[in-house]
Protein backbone atom coordinates (compact mmCIF):
# COMPACT_ATOMS: atom_id res chain seq x y z
CA UNK A 1 0.00 0.00 0.00
CA UNK A 2 2.86 2.27 0.84
CA UNK A 3 4.22 1.69 -2.62
CA UNK A 4 0.90 2.75 -4.10
CA UNK A 5 1.02 6.02 -2.18
CA UNK A 6 4.55 6.70 -3.37
CA UNK A 7 3.52 5.86 -6.88
CA UNK A 8 0.59 8.29 -6.72
CA UNK A 9 2.85 11.11 -5.54
CA UNK A 10 5.28 10.07 -8.30
CA UNK A 11 2.52 10.49 -10.86
CA UNK A 12 1.75 13.93 -9.48
CA UNK A 13 5.35 14.89 -10.24
CA UNK A 14 5.58 13.13 -13.60
CA UNK A 15 2.27 14.55 -14.80
CA UNK A 16 3.27 18.18 -14.27
CA UNK A 17 3.30 19.92 -17.61
CA UNK A 18 7.03 20.51 -17.61
CA UNK A 19 7.93 16.91 -16.81
CA UNK A 20 5.40 15.61 -19.34
CA UNK A 21 6.94 17.75 -22.07
CA UNK A 22 10.47 16.63 -21.23
CA UNK A 23 9.37 13.01 -20.95
CA UNK A 24 7.89 13.32 -24.44
CA UNK A 25 11.07 15.01 -25.65
CA UNK A 26 13.19 12.25 -24.12
CA UNK A 27 11.26 9.35 -25.61
CA UNK A 28 11.02 11.09 -29.00
CA UNK A 29 14.77 11.66 -29.07
CA UNK A 30 15.26 8.12 -27.83
CA UNK A 31 13.17 6.70 -30.67
CA UNK A 32 15.12 8.81 -33.15
CA UNK A 33 18.43 7.63 -31.72
CA UNK A 34 17.19 4.07 -31.78
CA UNK A 35 16.10 4.41 -35.40
CA UNK A 36 19.35 5.94 -36.62
CA UNK A 37 22.09 3.35 -36.98
CA UNK A 38 25.41 4.73 -35.79
CA UNK A 39 24.02 6.50 -32.73
CA UNK A 40 23.29 4.30 -29.74
CA UNK A 41 21.54 5.03 -26.46
CA UNK A 42 24.84 5.64 -24.60
CA UNK A 43 25.79 8.34 -27.07
CA UNK A 44 22.33 9.84 -26.87
CA UNK A 45 22.30 9.99 -23.08
CA UNK A 46 25.89 11.27 -22.95
CA UNK A 47 25.17 14.11 -25.39
CA UNK A 48 22.03 15.01 -23.42
CA UNK A 49 23.78 15.48 -20.05
CA UNK A 50 24.93 19.01 -20.92
CA UNK A 51 21.52 19.88 -22.33
CA UNK A 52 19.74 18.76 -19.14
CA UNK A 53 22.29 20.49 -16.95
CA UNK A 54 20.15 23.50 -16.20
CA UNK A 55 17.05 21.48 -15.29
CA UNK A 56 16.19 20.19 -11.85
CA UNK A 57 17.36 16.65 -11.16
CA UNK A 58 13.96 14.98 -11.55
CA UNK A 59 13.26 16.49 -14.96
CA UNK A 60 16.79 15.75 -16.09
CA UNK A 61 16.64 12.07 -15.15
CA UNK A 62 13.14 11.70 -16.61
CA UNK A 63 14.43 13.06 -19.93
CA UNK A 64 17.58 10.93 -20.02
CA UNK A 65 15.84 7.72 -18.95
CA UNK A 66 13.31 8.43 -21.70
CA UNK A 67 16.12 8.41 -24.24
CA UNK A 68 17.37 5.11 -22.82
CA UNK A 69 14.18 3.09 -23.03
CA UNK A 70 12.94 5.03 -26.05
CA UNK A 71 15.95 3.81 -28.00
CA UNK A 72 14.82 0.24 -27.31
CA UNK A 73 11.64 0.94 -29.27
CA UNK A 74 13.27 2.71 -32.19
CA UNK A 75 15.99 0.14 -32.76
CA UNK A 76 13.55 -2.42 -34.12
CA UNK A 77 12.35 -0.19 -36.98
CA UNK A 78 15.78 -0.08 -38.57
CA UNK A 79 16.35 -3.78 -37.99
CA UNK A 80 13.13 -4.71 -39.73
CA UNK A 81 13.30 -2.32 -42.67
CA UNK A 82 16.97 -2.18 -43.62
CA UNK A 83 18.46 -5.21 -41.87
CA UNK A 84 20.83 -2.98 -39.90
CA UNK A 85 20.24 -2.94 -36.16
CA UNK A 86 19.55 0.60 -34.91
CA UNK A 87 21.50 -0.37 -31.82
CA UNK A 88 23.10 -3.53 -30.49
CA UNK A 89 20.09 -4.74 -28.53
CA UNK A 90 18.03 -5.12 -31.70
CA UNK A 91 20.52 -7.33 -33.53
CA UNK A 92 18.27 -10.37 -33.01
CA UNK A 93 15.31 -8.52 -34.50
CA UNK A 94 17.07 -8.35 -37.86
CA UNK A 95 16.96 -12.15 -38.17
CA UNK A 96 13.21 -12.62 -38.45
CA UNK A 97 12.07 -9.00 -38.69
CA UNK A 98 13.86 -8.32 -41.98
CA UNK A 99 12.69 -11.64 -43.41
CA UNK A 100 9.11 -10.68 -42.56
CA UNK A 101 9.64 -7.36 -44.35
CA UNK A 102 10.97 -9.16 -47.42
CA UNK A 103 7.79 -11.25 -47.43
CA UNK A 104 5.71 -8.08 -47.39
CA UNK A 105 4.86 -8.35 -43.71
CA UNK A 106 6.84 -5.33 -42.49
CA UNK A 107 3.64 -3.88 -41.03
CA UNK A 108 2.86 -6.64 -38.52
CA UNK A 109 6.57 -6.95 -37.67
CA UNK A 110 6.81 -3.24 -36.81
CA UNK A 111 3.48 -3.35 -35.01
CA UNK A 112 4.38 -6.42 -32.98
CA UNK A 113 7.78 -4.92 -32.09
CA UNK A 114 6.08 -1.81 -30.72
CA UNK A 115 3.38 -3.76 -28.88
CA UNK A 116 5.90 -6.23 -27.43
CA UNK A 117 8.07 -3.32 -26.30
CA UNK A 118 5.07 -1.73 -24.62
CA UNK A 119 3.88 -4.86 -22.82
CA UNK A 120 7.35 -5.90 -21.66
CA UNK A 121 8.32 -2.33 -20.79
CA UNK A 122 5.23 -1.85 -18.64
CA UNK A 123 5.71 -5.25 -17.01
CA UNK A 124 9.28 -4.40 -16.05
CA UNK A 125 8.28 -1.03 -14.57
CA UNK A 126 5.63 -2.82 -12.48
CA UNK A 127 8.34 -5.16 -11.22
CA UNK A 128 10.68 -2.21 -10.69
CA UNK A 129 8.13 -0.32 -8.56
CA UNK A 130 7.55 -3.46 -6.51
CA UNK A 131 11.10 -4.79 -6.05
CA UNK A 132 13.14 -1.57 -5.87
CA UNK A 133 11.80 -0.24 -2.53
CA UNK A 134 12.16 -3.68 -0.91
CA UNK A 135 15.76 -3.97 -2.06
CA UNK A 136 16.51 -0.40 -0.97
CA UNK A 137 15.11 -1.09 2.51
CA UNK A 138 17.34 -4.12 2.74
CA UNK A 139 20.43 -2.21 1.62
CA UNK A 140 19.89 0.76 3.93
CA UNK A 141 21.76 -0.99 6.76
CA UNK A 142 24.90 -1.35 4.62
CA UNK A 143 28.11 -0.05 6.18
CA UNK A 144 31.36 0.78 4.40
CA UNK A 145 32.46 -2.89 4.10
CA UNK A 146 29.18 -3.88 2.43
CA UNK A 147 29.43 -0.88 0.15
CA UNK A 148 32.92 -1.78 -0.86
CA UNK A 149 31.93 -5.39 -1.53
CA UNK A 150 28.90 -4.24 -3.51
CA UNK A 151 30.72 -1.74 -5.72
CA UNK A 152 33.59 -4.17 -6.13
CA UNK A 153 31.13 -6.83 -7.27
CA UNK A 154 29.54 -4.36 -9.69
CA UNK A 155 32.94 -3.65 -11.20
CA UNK A 156 34.00 -7.29 -11.51
CA UNK A 157 30.67 -8.39 -13.00
CA UNK A 158 30.72 -5.70 -15.65
CA UNK A 159 34.38 -6.10 -16.51
CA UNK A 160 33.98 -9.86 -16.60
CA UNK A 161 30.92 -9.83 -18.82
CA UNK A 162 31.54 -6.73 -20.93
CA UNK A 163 33.64 -8.15 -23.71
CA UNK A 164 34.82 -11.45 -25.07
CA UNK A 165 38.11 -11.24 -23.25
CA UNK A 166 38.34 -11.10 -19.46
CA UNK A 167 41.85 -9.65 -19.61
CA UNK A 168 40.77 -6.80 -21.88
CA UNK A 169 37.72 -6.14 -19.70
CA UNK A 170 39.93 -6.00 -16.62
CA UNK A 171 42.42 -3.70 -18.30
CA UNK A 172 39.57 -1.35 -19.26
CA UNK A 173 38.22 -1.44 -15.71
CA UNK A 174 41.58 -0.72 -14.11
CA UNK A 175 42.21 2.06 -16.63
CA UNK A 176 38.90 3.61 -15.52
CA UNK A 177 39.89 3.29 -11.85
CA UNK A 178 43.17 5.03 -12.66
CA UNK A 179 41.26 7.88 -14.33
CA UNK A 180 39.04 8.08 -11.24
CA UNK A 181 42.14 8.71 -9.09
CA UNK A 182 42.86 12.01 -10.84
CA UNK A 183 42.07 15.00 -8.63
CA UNK A 184 42.06 15.75 -4.94
CA UNK A 185 42.21 12.71 -2.67
CA UNK A 186 38.87 12.76 -0.81
CA UNK A 187 40.31 11.56 2.49
CA UNK A 188 43.75 13.14 2.84
CA UNK A 189 43.10 16.17 0.64
CA UNK A 190 46.32 15.88 -1.34
CA UNK A 191 46.22 16.30 -5.13
CA UNK A 192 46.93 13.25 -7.28
CA UNK A 193 47.92 12.93 -10.96
CA UNK A 194 47.14 16.54 -11.75
CA UNK A 195 50.47 17.32 -13.43
CA UNK A 196 50.34 20.87 -12.17
CA UNK A 197 47.06 21.65 -13.91
CA UNK A 198 44.41 23.46 -11.89
CA UNK A 199 41.74 22.06 -14.23
CA UNK A 200 42.46 18.53 -13.04
CA UNK A 201 42.00 19.35 -9.34
CA UNK A 202 38.31 18.42 -9.57
CA UNK A 203 39.15 15.21 -11.39
CA UNK A 204 38.69 14.34 -15.05
CA UNK A 205 35.37 15.75 -16.19
CA UNK A 206 32.95 12.84 -16.40
CA UNK A 207 30.98 14.34 -19.27
CA UNK A 208 34.07 14.90 -21.38
CA UNK A 209 35.23 11.32 -20.88
CA UNK A 210 31.78 9.78 -21.48
CA UNK A 211 30.99 11.82 -24.58
CA UNK A 212 34.46 11.22 -26.01
CA UNK A 213 34.56 7.54 -25.23
CA UNK A 214 31.10 6.84 -26.66
CA UNK A 215 29.84 9.58 -28.97
CA UNK A 216 33.09 10.69 -30.58
CA UNK A 217 34.62 7.21 -30.75
CA UNK A 218 31.44 5.90 -32.37
CA UNK A 219 31.63 8.62 -35.03
CA UNK A 220 35.29 7.88 -35.72
CA UNK A 221 34.58 4.17 -36.18
CA UNK A 222 31.57 4.88 -38.39
CA UNK A 223 33.30 7.25 -40.82
CA UNK A 224 35.83 4.56 -41.44
CA UNK A 225 33.31 1.85 -42.23
CA UNK A 226 30.31 3.48 -43.88
CA UNK A 227 27.00 1.69 -43.30
CA UNK A 228 25.26 0.23 -46.30
CA UNK A 229 21.53 0.73 -46.28
CA UNK A 230 19.12 -1.09 -48.52
CA UNK A 231 15.48 -0.24 -48.01
CA UNK A 232 12.66 -2.70 -48.24
CA UNK A 233 9.91 -0.87 -50.06
CA UNK A 234 6.72 -1.03 -48.08
CA UNK A 235 3.51 0.85 -47.84
CA UNK A 236 2.61 1.31 -44.22
CA UNK A 237 -0.92 2.16 -43.32
CA UNK A 238 -2.02 2.08 -39.71
CA UNK A 239 -4.25 -0.88 -40.44
CA UNK A 240 -1.36 -2.93 -41.84
CA UNK A 241 0.57 -2.49 -38.59
CA UNK A 242 -1.74 -4.64 -36.52
CA UNK A 243 -0.74 -8.27 -36.17
CA UNK A 244 -3.54 -10.71 -37.04
CA UNK A 245 -4.98 -13.41 -34.81
CA UNK A 246 -2.43 -16.10 -35.74
CA UNK A 247 0.38 -13.63 -35.10
CA UNK A 248 -0.97 -13.03 -31.63
CA UNK A 249 -1.35 -16.72 -30.94
CA UNK A 250 2.23 -17.39 -32.06
CA UNK A 251 3.75 -14.52 -30.12
CA UNK A 252 1.93 -14.60 -26.81
CA UNK A 253 4.28 -17.17 -25.24
CA UNK A 254 7.37 -15.39 -26.55
CA UNK A 255 6.01 -12.13 -25.19
CA UNK A 256 5.67 -13.10 -21.56
CA UNK A 257 8.80 -15.23 -21.55
CA UNK A 258 10.75 -12.33 -23.08
CA UNK A 259 9.34 -9.93 -20.48
CA UNK A 260 10.28 -12.05 -17.46
CA UNK A 261 13.65 -13.12 -18.85
CA UNK A 262 14.48 -9.57 -19.93
CA UNK A 263 13.67 -8.07 -16.57
CA UNK A 264 15.86 -10.46 -14.60
CA UNK A 265 18.73 -10.28 -17.06
CA UNK A 266 18.45 -6.50 -16.86
CA UNK A 267 18.72 -6.56 -13.07
CA UNK A 268 22.04 -8.43 -13.24
CA UNK A 269 24.94 -6.02 -13.53
CA UNK A 270 26.96 -6.65 -16.66
CA UNK A 271 24.22 -8.30 -18.68
CA UNK A 272 21.93 -5.80 -20.32
CA UNK A 273 19.39 -5.40 -23.09
CA UNK A 274 21.64 -6.96 -25.72
CA UNK A 275 22.23 -10.16 -23.75
CA UNK A 276 18.52 -10.29 -22.88
CA UNK A 277 17.47 -10.20 -26.51
CA UNK A 278 20.02 -12.89 -27.45
CA UNK A 279 18.81 -15.17 -24.65
CA UNK A 280 15.16 -14.62 -25.51
CA UNK A 281 15.71 -15.47 -29.18
CA UNK A 282 17.67 -18.57 -28.23
CA UNK A 283 14.97 -19.65 -25.76
CA UNK A 284 12.16 -19.19 -28.28
CA UNK A 285 14.04 -21.16 -30.88
CA UNK A 286 14.68 -23.97 -28.44
CA UNK A 287 11.07 -24.08 -27.21
CA UNK A 288 9.52 -23.82 -30.65
CA UNK A 289 7.95 -26.84 -32.28
CA UNK A 290 9.44 -25.71 -35.56
CA UNK A 291 12.89 -24.33 -34.70
CA UNK A 292 13.97 -24.64 -38.34
CA UNK A 293 11.52 -21.86 -39.24
CA UNK A 294 13.44 -19.29 -37.15
CA UNK A 295 15.32 -16.94 -39.42
CA UNK A 296 12.72 -17.18 -42.18
CA UNK A 297 10.39 -14.54 -40.76
CA UNK A 298 8.45 -15.89 -37.79
CA UNK A 299 6.78 -13.26 -35.65
CA UNK A 300 7.78 -14.80 -32.30
CA UNK A 301 11.39 -14.14 -33.30
CA UNK A 302 10.48 -10.44 -33.25
CA UNK A 303 8.16 -10.41 -30.24
CA UNK A 304 10.52 -12.23 -27.85
CA UNK A 305 13.75 -10.24 -28.28
CA UNK A 306 11.96 -6.89 -28.65
CA UNK A 307 10.07 -7.55 -25.43
CA UNK A 308 13.22 -8.75 -23.69
CA UNK A 309 15.33 -5.70 -24.52
CA UNK A 310 12.65 -3.34 -23.23
CA UNK A 311 12.12 -5.32 -20.06
CA UNK A 312 15.89 -5.28 -19.52
CA UNK A 313 15.96 -1.48 -19.72
CA UNK A 314 13.48 -1.36 -16.83
CA UNK A 315 15.34 -4.07 -14.95
CA UNK A 316 18.62 -2.18 -15.24
CA UNK A 317 17.05 0.64 -13.21
CA UNK A 318 16.77 -1.66 -10.17
CA UNK A 319 20.48 -1.94 -9.24
CA UNK A 320 21.08 1.65 -10.39
CA UNK A 321 18.43 3.20 -8.15
CA UNK A 322 18.56 0.90 -5.14
CA UNK A 323 22.22 0.01 -4.84
CA UNK A 324 23.90 2.72 -6.88
CA UNK A 325 25.67 0.24 -9.10
CA UNK A 326 25.02 0.70 -12.79
CA UNK A 327 25.13 -2.49 -14.81
CA UNK A 328 26.04 -1.15 -18.25
CA UNK A 329 27.58 1.75 -20.13
CA UNK A 330 24.26 3.55 -20.53
CA UNK A 331 23.23 3.22 -16.89
CA UNK A 332 26.76 4.27 -15.84
CA UNK A 333 26.30 7.45 -17.85
CA UNK A 334 22.84 7.92 -16.28
CA UNK A 335 24.41 7.54 -12.85
CA UNK A 336 27.17 10.02 -13.72
CA UNK A 337 24.45 12.45 -14.75
CA UNK A 338 22.61 11.99 -11.44
CA UNK A 339 25.84 12.58 -9.53
CA UNK A 340 26.40 15.80 -11.46
CA UNK A 341 22.97 16.91 -10.28
CA UNK A 342 24.05 16.20 -6.72
CA UNK A 343 21.92 13.06 -6.39
CA UNK A 344 23.64 9.89 -5.22
CA UNK A 345 21.82 6.73 -6.33
CA UNK A 346 21.72 4.07 -3.62
CA UNK A 347 19.49 2.78 -0.83
CA UNK A 348 19.23 6.21 0.79
CA UNK A 349 17.91 7.72 -2.43
CA UNK A 350 14.44 6.40 -1.63
CA UNK A 351 14.41 8.32 1.65
CA UNK A 352 16.41 11.39 0.68
CA UNK A 353 14.95 12.06 -2.75
CA UNK A 354 11.67 10.16 -3.09
CA UNK A 355 10.52 12.75 -5.62
CA UNK A 356 13.34 11.77 -7.99
CA UNK A 357 12.81 8.00 -7.69
CA UNK A 358 9.04 7.92 -7.83
CA UNK A 359 8.84 10.75 -10.34
CA UNK A 360 11.15 8.74 -12.58
CA UNK A 361 9.27 5.46 -12.11
CA UNK A 362 5.90 7.11 -12.78
CA UNK A 363 7.32 8.87 -15.83
CA UNK A 364 8.38 5.50 -17.21
CA UNK A 365 4.76 4.29 -17.17
CA UNK A 366 3.77 7.44 -19.03
CA UNK A 367 6.75 7.24 -21.36
CA UNK A 368 5.82 3.75 -22.45
CA UNK A 369 2.32 4.88 -23.40
CA UNK A 370 3.79 7.83 -25.30
CA UNK A 371 6.21 5.50 -27.08
CA UNK A 372 3.41 3.19 -28.17
CA UNK A 373 1.66 6.19 -29.72
CA UNK A 374 4.89 7.49 -31.25
CA UNK A 375 5.82 4.15 -32.72
CA UNK A 376 2.53 2.81 -34.02
CA UNK A 377 0.77 5.57 -35.93
CA UNK A 378 3.91 7.61 -36.53
CA UNK A 379 6.18 4.83 -37.72
CA UNK A 380 6.21 6.32 -41.22
CA UNK A 381 7.78 9.49 -39.86
CA UNK A 382 10.69 7.57 -38.34
CA UNK A 383 11.18 5.68 -41.56
CA UNK A 384 11.66 8.98 -43.37
CA UNK A 385 14.36 9.93 -40.85
CA UNK A 386 16.21 6.83 -41.93
CA UNK A 387 16.71 8.47 -45.30
CA UNK A 388 18.92 11.17 -43.81
CA UNK A 389 22.38 9.95 -44.80
CA UNK A 390 24.98 9.42 -42.08
CA UNK A 391 27.44 11.79 -43.74
CA UNK A 392 25.05 14.67 -42.99
CA UNK A 393 24.46 13.48 -39.41
CA UNK A 394 28.13 12.96 -38.61
CA UNK A 395 29.14 16.65 -38.47
CA UNK A 396 26.06 17.39 -36.39
CA UNK A 397 26.88 14.69 -33.83
CA UNK A 398 30.48 15.90 -33.55
CA UNK A 399 29.58 19.57 -33.08
CA UNK A 400 26.66 18.94 -30.70
CA UNK A 401 28.95 16.74 -28.59
CA UNK A 402 31.75 19.29 -28.57
CA UNK A 403 29.58 22.31 -27.80
CA UNK A 404 27.60 20.31 -25.23
CA UNK A 405 30.75 19.33 -23.37
CA UNK A 406 31.85 22.96 -23.37
CA UNK A 407 28.44 24.15 -22.21
CA UNK A 408 28.33 22.14 -18.97
CA UNK A 409 31.11 24.09 -17.35
CA UNK A 410 31.94 26.82 -19.85
CA UNK A 411 35.33 25.24 -19.95
CA UNK A 412 37.40 24.63 -23.08
CA UNK A 413 39.63 22.23 -21.15
CA UNK A 414 36.75 19.71 -21.00
CA UNK A 415 36.70 19.68 -24.80
CA UNK A 416 40.33 18.58 -24.83
CA UNK A 417 39.42 15.77 -22.43
CA UNK A 418 36.65 14.78 -24.83
CA UNK A 419 39.02 14.80 -27.79
CA UNK A 420 41.54 12.67 -25.89
CA UNK A 421 38.86 10.26 -24.69
CA UNK A 422 37.53 10.05 -28.25
CA UNK A 423 40.92 9.06 -29.63
CA UNK A 424 41.43 6.53 -26.82
CA UNK A 425 37.91 5.18 -27.34
CA UNK A 426 38.52 4.78 -31.06
CA UNK A 427 41.72 2.79 -30.44
CA UNK A 428 39.93 0.70 -27.80
CA UNK A 429 37.24 -0.27 -30.30
CA UNK A 430 39.82 -1.09 -32.93
CA UNK A 431 41.68 -3.31 -30.44
CA UNK A 432 38.38 -4.73 -29.11
CA UNK A 433 38.64 -3.35 -25.59
CA UNK A 434 35.16 -2.76 -24.11
CA UNK A 435 34.49 0.90 -23.21
CA UNK A 436 31.72 0.34 -20.66
CA UNK A 437 34.06 -0.77 -17.81
CA UNK A 438 36.07 2.46 -18.14
CA UNK A 439 33.05 4.67 -17.58
CA UNK A 440 31.69 2.37 -14.88
CA UNK A 441 35.00 2.44 -13.01
CA UNK A 442 35.21 6.21 -13.41
CA UNK A 443 31.76 6.58 -11.84
CA UNK A 444 32.23 3.97 -9.13
CA UNK A 445 35.92 4.68 -8.48
CA UNK A 446 35.53 7.36 -5.82
CA UNK A 447 32.91 5.23 -4.05
CA UNK A 448 35.05 2.08 -4.16
CA UNK A 449 38.01 3.96 -2.82
CA UNK A 450 36.19 5.76 -0.02
CA UNK A 451 34.41 2.64 1.24
CA UNK A 452 37.63 0.62 1.05
CA UNK A 453 39.58 3.15 3.07
CA UNK A 454 36.78 3.69 5.59
CA UNK A 455 36.47 -0.06 6.11
CA UNK A 456 40.19 -0.48 6.59
CA UNK A 457 40.20 2.38 9.07
CA UNK A 458 37.41 0.64 11.00
CA UNK A 459 39.34 -2.62 11.07
CA UNK A 460 42.77 -1.04 11.64
CA UNK A 461 43.99 -2.28 8.32
CA UNK A 462 42.69 -5.83 8.59
CA UNK A 463 41.29 -7.00 5.27
CA UNK A 464 39.28 -9.71 7.07
CA UNK A 465 36.56 -7.13 7.71
CA UNK A 466 35.20 -7.83 4.24
CA UNK A 467 34.88 -11.53 4.95
CA UNK A 468 33.65 -11.48 8.57
CA UNK A 469 30.35 -9.77 7.89
CA UNK A 470 27.86 -12.09 6.17
CA UNK A 471 26.49 -9.75 3.49
CA UNK A 472 29.83 -8.38 2.46
CA UNK A 473 31.33 -11.88 2.52
CA UNK A 474 28.60 -13.16 0.19
CA UNK A 475 29.09 -10.21 -2.18
CA UNK A 476 32.87 -10.65 -2.17
CA UNK A 477 32.44 -14.34 -2.92
CA UNK A 478 30.21 -13.48 -5.87
CA UNK A 479 32.72 -10.93 -7.10
CA UNK A 480 35.63 -13.34 -6.89
CA UNK A 481 33.55 -16.08 -8.49
CA UNK A 482 32.65 -13.86 -11.43
CA UNK A 483 36.32 -12.98 -11.91
CA UNK A 484 37.71 -16.45 -11.63
CA UNK A 485 34.95 -18.48 -13.26
CA UNK A 486 36.40 -18.06 -16.78
CA UNK A 487 39.88 -18.99 -15.52
CA UNK A 488 38.63 -22.06 -13.68
CA UNK A 489 36.73 -23.15 -16.76
CA UNK A 490 39.84 -22.75 -18.90
CA UNK A 491 41.92 -24.64 -16.34
CA UNK A 492 39.52 -27.61 -16.32
CA UNK A 493 39.38 -27.70 -20.08
CA UNK A 494 43.16 -27.70 -20.41
CA UNK A 495 43.47 -30.47 -17.83
CA UNK A 496 40.88 -32.62 -19.46
CA UNK A 497 42.24 -32.33 -22.96
CA UNK A 498 45.56 -34.16 -22.46
CA UNK A 499 43.70 -37.04 -20.80
CA UNK A 500 41.44 -37.46 -23.77
CA UNK A 501 44.43 -37.56 -26.06
CA UNK A 502 45.82 -40.52 -24.17
Amino acid sequence: MEILQHLISGFEIALSLKNLIFCLMGVTLGTLIGVLPGIGPVTGVAILIPVTFGMNATTAIITMAGVYYGAMYGGSTTSILINVPGESSSVMTTLDGYQMALKGRAGPALGMAAIASFIAGTFSILMLSWIAPVLADFAVAFGPPEYFALTFMGLTLVTGLAGDSLIKGLMSGVFGLLLACVGVDAISGSPRFIFGSIFLLDGLGFIGVAVGLFALAEVLVNIEEPLKQVFVKTRLSIKSLFPNRTDWKNSSGALWRGSVLGFFVGVLPGAGATVASFLSYAAEKKLSRQPEKFGTGVIEGVAGPEGANNAAAGGAMVPLLTLGIPGSGTTAVLMGALLIHGIRPGPLLFQEHPEVVWGLIASMYIGNVLLLILNLPLVGLWVSFLKVPYRILMPLIVTISAVGVFATDNNIFDMWIMLGAGAVGYLMRKLEFPAAPVVLALVLGPMVERSLRQSLTLSHGDIAIFFNRPISAALMALALLSLFAPLVRKFWRSRRRPKMQK
Binding site: V51, G54, V219, E224, R391, L396, V403, F406, M415, L419
Partner: protein, 76 residues
Protein backbone atom coordinates in the same frame (compact mmCIF):
# COMPACT_ATOMS: atom_id res chain seq x y z
CA UNK B 1 42.16 6.09 -41.43
CA UNK B 2 42.72 9.40 -43.22
CA UNK B 3 39.16 10.49 -42.39
CA UNK B 4 39.62 9.60 -38.74
CA UNK B 5 42.76 11.71 -38.53
CA UNK B 6 41.07 14.56 -40.40
CA UNK B 7 38.18 14.60 -37.90
CA UNK B 8 40.51 14.46 -34.89
CA UNK B 9 42.78 17.20 -36.30
CA UNK B 10 39.78 19.29 -37.35
CA UNK B 11 38.29 19.03 -33.88
CA UNK B 12 41.59 20.06 -32.28
CA UNK B 13 41.78 23.12 -34.53
CA UNK B 14 38.11 23.85 -33.78
CA UNK B 15 38.78 23.82 -30.03
CA UNK B 16 41.78 26.13 -30.52
CA UNK B 17 39.79 28.42 -32.81
CA UNK B 18 36.79 28.76 -30.48
CA UNK B 19 38.44 31.23 -28.12
CA UNK B 20 39.89 33.26 -31.00
CA UNK B 21 37.33 33.25 -33.82
CA UNK B 22 34.32 32.90 -31.54
CA UNK B 23 31.58 30.27 -31.59
CA UNK B 24 29.71 31.20 -34.76
CA UNK B 25 32.65 31.55 -37.13
CA UNK B 26 34.53 28.49 -35.90
CA UNK B 27 31.46 26.25 -35.83
CA UNK B 28 30.52 27.28 -39.36
CA UNK B 29 34.03 26.57 -40.63
CA UNK B 30 34.25 23.27 -38.72
CA UNK B 31 30.96 21.86 -40.02
CA UNK B 32 31.79 23.03 -43.54
CA UNK B 33 35.17 21.32 -43.21
CA UNK B 34 33.62 18.05 -42.01
CA UNK B 35 31.10 18.03 -44.85
CA UNK B 36 33.30 19.43 -47.60
CA UNK B 37 36.63 17.78 -46.89
CA UNK B 38 35.83 14.64 -44.91
CA UNK B 39 32.54 13.68 -46.55
CA UNK B 40 33.32 15.31 -49.91
CA UNK B 41 29.95 16.98 -50.26
CA UNK B 42 29.64 19.78 -52.79
CA UNK B 43 30.82 23.06 -51.26
CA UNK B 44 27.57 24.89 -51.76
CA UNK B 45 25.63 22.19 -49.93
CA UNK B 46 28.31 21.95 -47.22
CA UNK B 47 28.19 25.69 -46.54
CA UNK B 48 24.40 25.71 -46.50
CA UNK B 49 24.17 22.87 -43.95
CA UNK B 50 26.98 24.46 -41.93
CA UNK B 51 25.03 27.71 -41.79
CA UNK B 52 21.87 25.93 -40.67
CA UNK B 53 23.63 23.86 -38.01
CA UNK B 54 25.47 26.87 -36.60
CA UNK B 55 22.18 28.72 -36.33
CA UNK B 56 20.51 25.66 -34.77
CA UNK B 57 23.26 25.15 -32.19
CA UNK B 58 23.24 28.85 -31.36
CA UNK B 59 19.47 28.66 -30.82
CA UNK B 60 19.71 25.59 -28.57
CA UNK B 61 22.74 26.52 -26.49
CA UNK B 62 22.77 30.34 -26.43
CA UNK B 63 19.07 31.12 -26.46
CA UNK B 64 17.30 28.07 -24.96
CA UNK B 65 19.98 26.91 -22.52
CA UNK B 66 21.54 30.32 -21.86
CA UNK B 67 25.14 29.16 -22.24
CA UNK B 68 27.84 31.82 -22.61
CA UNK B 69 29.42 30.77 -25.89
CA UNK B 70 32.89 32.07 -26.78
CA UNK B 71 32.91 35.28 -28.82
CA UNK B 72 35.52 36.85 -31.10
CA UNK B 73 36.75 40.42 -30.92
CA UNK B 74 33.83 41.56 -33.09
CA UNK B 75 31.36 40.19 -30.60
CA UNK B 76 29.85 37.14 -32.33
Amino acid sequence: MLNVMLVVAGLAIYILALSRLGFSASTFLFVAFLLGVVEKERWFKACFIALLSTAGLYLIFRILLDVKLPKNMYGF
